[in-house]
Symmetry: C2
Subunit: 439 residues, 2 copies
C-alpha cells in the first residue's frame, strides 16, 4: 500500500451532521452546531479512525432553509486553528471563497494555519454561487460564473506565489539584513482583478504551501480544478460518470502541463450503517423524520422542485427521464448536483423508489450492513474510478465513532486503508509533490 | 478591589519581543517569530502572571525595516484561536484593519473566536496607515485619514449589529422553524461604504459581543475611540498629557451619549527590570546592541529623522524644543507617537540623555529595580490618570517570566492587581456592560 495507491478518506464535520434533521436526533443537543467542542470531539473521533482529513464546507451567510440544521456557522480557519492545537496528524480541509476574500489576507490566514498545524491545511476553493452571500458583501449582485472562475484562477495564482515568497534562513540570525529581495521576493502582481505587491509576511510553511482542492463540475470548474487542484470533490452518482469525469479531468490537467497522477479524485458519499440492511433502511427513514420509504420518496419529489420538475408528474415506480434534470453552463445555481442526477438517470433506468436508496444529500449513498457499506466504498476505488471519498456522516459526532467501529476495520482488513498515520504533512500523506520543487 | 477600580494589565506578545534586536538576544532562537508555540509559551506565562490580556498589534505587509525583528507575521485571529484552545481565562486582544477587511467576514471570524474562547476577545480596530499595506490590496493608494475613519465608524456600526443579529433559542430545538426574522434579524445596512443584509450566521456569543479597543490620537481617532471603544491604547508619555487625554476622551464619550466610566485607558509601557538600576540600564543598552548610554542617544537621534529633525542640530544635554516634534492632523503617518513626544517636551525641560530613559519603542519606559518598575506603573494609575497598561516586554517569552517573578507580586502586595482570575468573560473582568442590555 503506497500513498500513490491507497484509499483516501476525509470526513465532513459540518454542523450537527449531514442529515437535515440531525439537529433533532434523539440524545443530541441541537445547540452543538455553535459549540466548538462538538467539532473538536468530531475531529478527535476522526483521528481515532485514522481519517486522512476533516472537511468543512462553507458559505458566509445564514442559510435560507430554516427547517434544517444550520449548515455553516463558525469561520473554518478560526475553528480549525483551535482544533489543530488539540488534534495531531489529521489534515484540515476548509472551504473559502475566492469571490469574497482578498488574496493577501486569505493567503496569510491559511499560511498561519499551515504553520500552526505543522503542514496539514487543504484549501477548498469555491467561487460562491448564492445571491444571499452577495447581499452580505455590497450592493453588487453575484458576478456571472465565467467572471467568478477567471477571478478564482487569478486568485489562486496570486495566493500560490505569495505562499512561496518569503524563505527566511534558519539557524543563527543573518549578520546583515534579516531579509532582502532574494529571500523575501515581491510578487508585483497586476492582473484583471488583483494588484498585489507582496511578499507575504508569513514564511514558507512546513509543506511548502497548503494543498488545493476544488469541486468544479461545470466546464469552467473542471478546467480550474485540472489547473490548480490536488484534490477534486465532484458530485458523482454513477461509476461510469466517475470514469468519464476522471478522464475529462486528466485530459485538462495534461493540457495545463500537469502530471494527472498528482490529482486525487474524492467525491462525497453518505454512509448509513445498520446491523442489517433493514435496520439501516429504517435509520435512513428516521433521519428524515419518517417511518417508511414513502416519506423518503415524498422528500425526493419535493426536492426535485429545485430542478423545475413538478412532483405531481412523477411516478415513484417508473424510471426517471434524465432530461428532467436539465442544466445550462451559465445557470446561477451550481451545476454539479443537477448534472450528477442527469448522469445517473441516463446511465441506467432508475425509479424514484430506487434512487432514494442510492443518493442522499446530493451524494452517493452507502447504506446497509458494515460489509455492504465497506463494499460500496471499495468498489469504485478498487476499479480505479476514484482515489477515495469524502464521507458524510448523518449525525455528528457519534456517527463517526460508529463508522470507526463498524466500517474502518473492514477497509483496513481489505488492505485499502492504513492502520496508523504516516508522513508528517498532509501533502506527504497524499503522496503529492512539494511545490518548492516546481517553483 | 472592584473591577471598576483596579489596575488592568495586558502584555504584548508581538514577534520576538518589543526590542528591535530581541531576535538576536543570547540564548534565543530568532526563528521563533514564526513558531506558534513561542506565542503559546508567551500566553501561558502571561496566564501564570494573571495578566488580563495578551495583545497583538498587526499590519498585513512584510515590514520595510529588515534590521529589526519582523513585527507582524501570523494572522492574529488564527493564532489566537489556537492559543485559546490551550490557555484558559486570559483575554485576547487582536488588531485588525477596518480598511482592508469586509465587515461580514471579520465579524464572523471574531464571533467564532469569541465562542471558542468563551467570551475572551477584544478587537483592536485600526484604520491602517502604511502605504505598503495598500500595495497588497489593489492599485488604489491608501485612502485619506478622514475617509478611513468614516469607514471605520461605519464598519464598527455594521459589525456590532451583526454580532447581535442571531439569538437562537437554547434547550430543546424549536418545533417550528429553527430561526425566523424575530430571532435572526437581517440588519439591511446601506451606508456610504457598506451594504450588508445580514443576519450573521454565528449566534450571539458568551459576552454578547467582543470588547472593542482603539488607539486613536488624532482628533478623528479620539472621537472614534470615544464613540466605540471600551479600551483605549493611546501613546502617552507624560502624566499631565494622560490627564488631558482622558478628559478629552471622556468629554467626547459624553457627547456620544456614553457613560465615560465605561472606558478603560491603558497606554503602552515598556518594562526593563534589573537587580539594581545600573543593571537595568546596562540591559537597556544591551537590548539596543550597545554598551553605553551614548549608543541609546545616537539611536534616538537617528530615529528623530522620522520627525524631520536633523540629528546634527541636537545637543544630547540640552532640553529639546517641543516644536521639533511637529505633526498635522492630515499627515500620512500616525499622529500618536509624534504628538506624545511633543507633549512630553512641552511639559518639562527634557534632554535627549534623559529622554532615552523615559521612552522606549515609542512608549513610556519603566526601568530599574522591580520596586522602581512597579512604582512607575502604579504612580499614574493610583492618581487616576490611567486605568492600566499594555506592558511591552523587550525579549519574549522569558521577559514575561521575569516580570511575573519580580514585578507582579509588588503590584499585588499594593492591592492594585488581583492574585487570581475572576469573571468568566473578559467583559466581566473589565467591569463592562453587556451590549445586549443597550441593544
Amino acid at each position: 500500500m503506497t500513498n500513490q495507491r491507497r484509499l483516501f478518506l476525509s470526513v465532513a464535520v459540518n454542523s450537527t451532521g449531514s442529515a437535515g434533521r440531525s439537529f433533532a436526533w434523539p440524545g443530541t443537543d441541537w445547540g452543538r452546531f455553535s459549540d466548538w467542542e462538538h467539532y473538536l470531539r468530531s475531529a478527535r473521533l476522526a483521528h481515532e479512525g485514522v481519517f486522512d482529513i476533516v472537511f468543512v464546507s462553507d458559505h458566509p451567510a445564514l442559510q435560507r432553509d430554516n427547517t434544517s440544521r444550520p449548515l455553516h456557522s463558525f469561520d473554518p480557519t478560526v475553528l480549525f486553528a483551535a482544533i489543530a492545537a488539540a488534534v495531531a496528524d489529521i489534515g484540515f480541509l476548509l472551504t473559502a471563497s475566492s469571490t469574497y476574500n482578498s488574496p493577501y489576507n486569505l493567503a496569510r490566514r491559511l499560511a498561519t494555519l499551515d504553520h500552526i498545524s505543522g503542514g496539514r491545511v487543504i484549501w477548498n476553493v469555491v467561487s460562491s454561487f448564492n445571491p444571499d452571500i452577495a447581499a452580505n458583501f455590497g450592493s453588487a449582485p453575484l458576478p456571472p460564473r465565467a467572471e467568478r472562475y477567471r477571478r478564482a484562477d487569478e486568485f489562486l495564482e496570486v495566493v500560490k506565489r505569495l505562499w512561496l515568497s518569503w524563505d527566511p534562513p534558519t539557524g543563527e540570525p543573518p549578520a546583515g539584513p534579516l531579509w532582502d529581495d532574494g529571500t523575501a521576493r515581491p510578487i508585483d502582481h497586476r492582473g484583471e482583478f488583483f494588484t498585489v505587491a507582496g511578499p507575504l509576511n508569513v514564511p514558507i510553511g512546513p509543506q511548502g504551501h497548503p494543498v488545493i482542492s476544488q469541486a468544479g463540475a461545470s466546464d469552467a470548474g473542471v478546467d480550474l480544478a485540472a489547473k490548480h487542484a490536488d484534490i477534486v470533490y465532484a458530485s458523482l452518482l454513477h461509476k461510469q460518470a466517475a470514469f468519464d469525469y476522471k478522464a475529462r479531468l486528466r485530459e485538462r490537467a495534461v493540457a495545463h502541463g500537469r502530471d494527472p497522477d498528482e490529482i486525487r479524485l474524492m467525491p462525497g458519499i453518505t454512509a448509513i450503517v445498520g446491523a442489517t440492511r433493514e435496520e439501516a433502511y429504517r435509520k435512513h427513514e428516521a433521519l428524515h423524520g419518517h417511518t417508511g420509504e414513502d416519506g423518503l420518496i415524498a422528500d425526493f419529489l419535493k426536492r426535485t422542485a429545485l430542478f423545475d420538475i413538478s412532483a405531481e408528474s412523477i411516478d415513484p415506480d417508473r424510471p426517471l427521464d434524465p432530461r428532467l434534470f436539465s442544466y445550462t453552463e451559465d445557470q446561477r445555481r451550481p451545476v454539479g448536483f443537477v448534472r450528477s442526477f442527469a448522469e445517473l438517470a441516463a446511465a441506467e433506468p432508475i425509479t424514484p423508489r430506487q434512487l432514494v436508496r442510492r443518493v442522499e444529500g446530493g451524494h452517493r449513498l452507502a447504506i446497509g450492513t458494515p460489509k455492504e457499506v465497506a463494499d460500496t466504498i471499495l468498489e469504485w476505488w478498487s476499479e480505479g474510478a476514484v482515489d477515495g471519498y469524502n464521507i458524510h456522516i448523518p449525525v455528528l459526532p457519534d456517527g463517526i465513532a460508529e463508522f470507526n467501529r463498524e466500517v474502518i476495520p473492514l477497509l483496513q482488513d481489505a488492505g485499502a486503508f492504513p492502520r496508523a498515520y504516516d508522513g508528517s504533512t498532509i501533502r506527504e500523506r497524499l503522496g503529492l509533490r512539494d511545490p518548492r520543487a516546481a517553483a
